[in-house]
Amino acid sequence: MVYVKWGFWGLFWLILGAFFHYTLPQHDVVRITDTYEKRVDPGSNSLFWSNADTGSDPTTPSRDVFFIQTFQTNDRPMIYRNEDTGWGWPPYFKFDTSNLQAEASDLLSKKSEATAQWVVVTHYGWRNEFFSIFPNAVSIKPADGPDQSVIPWFNIVFLTVFAAFAWGIWVRWKRFRANRIDPMIEDWSDGRG
């Protein structure tokens, strides 16, 4: 029983951790080398694609998606998709996809350039080649250089508040169980132990 209990809670926190890692914003320092759009037909990976642009027909099976092609500071490629999240999940309420694409293509910088233009891309999501999924870029700001680091203030505050809430609920549940449920079980099992 103890293994089942720990297994359950281990799995629960693992899934929750993965969920937060996917959903919460992260910052990358990258160099944008190209922007393009490509038709996608989300299939079994459709969970990792967003919706059609806000206001467009949401039922069409395929659509064009903006992409932003970049290189990270370690010279490895990273490709972002650039999609509206609209009023759906995750709650970034991003409607300015086309504006973001314009900003991205304004900050292009190839390897051969004398002074490279680095940018900070805020994004959520994962890149996985096996499922053809891409993180969704939310905002792009010019960076001071490749060594710039961004303090994730939002994540710090959010996770602190979340931990406080989880702890508060846990304490109240413990108290509720000790006061209401345990005495009841003792009642039922009276004279049987």
Binding site: N51, T54, G55, P58, G86, W87, G88, P91, Y92, F93, K94, F95, D96, N99, V138, S139
Partner: protein, 88 residues
């Protein structure tokens, strides 16, 4: 627009559940506090009268109205996120 309506509908539903649960919980906490106070003050008069007058005070209190923040805070948060994501 359907997505917006869906968000409003389910958001409102979800927040209403939270609102109701917090209301019930807060009321029960207040009632327990009144029962304890009545005991500590040397049991002045009838217990039910003491508690019901205390509960009437609670019904009109700012504290109970503050539970409406359950609706206000998420709405403000959404407005702030929209501004930060799209216009900053």
């Amino acid at each position: 627009m359907a997505a917006f309506a869906r968000l409003m509908f389910f958001g409102f539903l979800f927040l209403t559940v939270i609102y109701v649960v917090i209301s019930i919980w807060s009321r029960s906490v207040r009632r327990e506090k009144l029962e304890r106070e009545w005991d500590e003050q040397g049991r002045p008069g009838d217990k039910d009268t003491y508690i019901s007058s205390g509960m009437t005070d609670y019904e009109n209190s700012l504290r109970r109205k503050l539970i409406l923040l359950v609706y206000v805070i998420p709405t403000v948060a959404v407005a702030v996120i929209i501004y930060v994501t799209n216009f900053m």
